[in-house]
Amino acid sequence: MAKTITQEFVKGLWDEIPPFRLVLGLCPTLAVTKSVENGLGMGVAVVFVLVCSNMLVSLLRNIIPSKVRIACFIIIIATFVIVVELVMQAYAYPLFLTLGIFIPLIVVNCIVLGRAEAFAYKNGVVRSIVDGFGMGIGFTISLTALGAVREVFGSGTFFGISVFGPSFQPFTFMIEAPGAFVCLGLMLCMMNLAGNK
């Protein structure tokens, strides 16, 4: 049953890729993926929080009493989230403005808490870091892909650069909230199709 380090990493990229397979953390997934840049920014923030919190939870797993473990996890996660928030404000202010409330909301993101509870609390430090990194990258890929599809069709741009030329009529439905659901559903469907073969 024991997995190798590589397997721990790779599982986050396909088998257990967070928003698509675990279907966790849908709130930021649906809300911030109006553009590639937002998706990527959000993903990077989550990678940082996930790796750091997994590492710390795993380091402290023998000290944290199991009755107050959730409270401890929340303190650890919240600390790193605020670090991300401050750093983002200092170095990427426009991104901070567009992501807005969704950065502080990483605190209650199911993936981060879920990985701390389900993995880091039971596994060693190296494995936990690798797991956090893999899950984080998986989350980033998902958000970037979803953001790319929605931005390309919804506003006809990719990273803000026009792809179809000026005559393109943007399919604005895609950048509205319902577009996010439809888009996510179609991507899930395609992943299942690919996985069943």
């Binding site: 107050v68 303190i75 404000q89």
Partner: protein, 196 residues
């Protein structure tokens, strides 16, 4: 009992550590965040007012203590002379405070420009105070040391149609800026000498 003590100790230590780390990060990023906010919130108005200046007014700023509050002043250098200063003041609008930047030439005390930065006025009506240059340009060339009023009140400013309260609020803000300027002029002039 031992279990409870352990829980308390762990949570306390963890919280204390977290607090310490956050204080350190906050201390390290505070200046940078302040700068970013200036660039993205007040920056556009400042640049608009000091159009054609040869320096970066957001870098060339100084602070003066005015009673209990500290005010930031942004310096504009024209033709090699630092003689223009831009600063913020507030007026009461229809939907709350209107924040505005006013640029004043310290040689002749004349307003060289005014720009609204933050407001919560009605979109499309009062919000024109920020977006319509026809309104904000009226303030150019007025004297900074005299009260600014709309025409019905005996002043020189044409109020925006449908947005009398906002127009008056902006005038109050500009008048307030004039008061700040009058009050702090000696210190401003002193500080301006450092920018050449």
């Amino acid at each position: 009992m031992r279990e409870i003590i352990k829980m308390i100790v762990v949570l306390t230590v963890l919280s204390a550590f977290s607090g310490g780390l956050l204080a350190a990060v906050r201390g390290g990023t505070m200046e940078k965040i302040e700068y970013q906010q200036l660039v993205f919130v007040k920056g556009p108005a400042i640049r608009n007012i000091l159009e054609g200046c040869s320096n970066d007014p957001i870098v060339d700023r100084f602070k003066i203590k005015d009673g209990d509050i500290e005010r930031s002043f942004f310096v504009g250098v024209f033709d090699g002379k630092a003689d223009t200063v831009t600063f913020e003041s507030f007026g009461k609008g229809f939907g709350g405070d209107i924040g505005l930047m006013v640029g004043v030439n310290i040689n002749d005390d004349k307003i060289i420009g005014m720009g609204v930065t933050t407001h919560s006025e009605t979109p499309g009506i009062g919000s024109k105070a920020k977006t319509d240059p026809k309104f904000s340009n009226q303030f150019k060339g007025l004297s900074a040391v005299e009260p600014c009023k709309v025409k019905p009140d005996g002043g020189e400013i044409d109020a925006m149609s449908g947005a009398t309260v906002t127009s008056k609020g902006v005038c109050v803000g500009v008048t307030e800026a004039g008061n700040i300027y009058k009050r702090l002029k000696p210190q401003i002039a002193e500080k301006m000498k450092e920018f050449k």
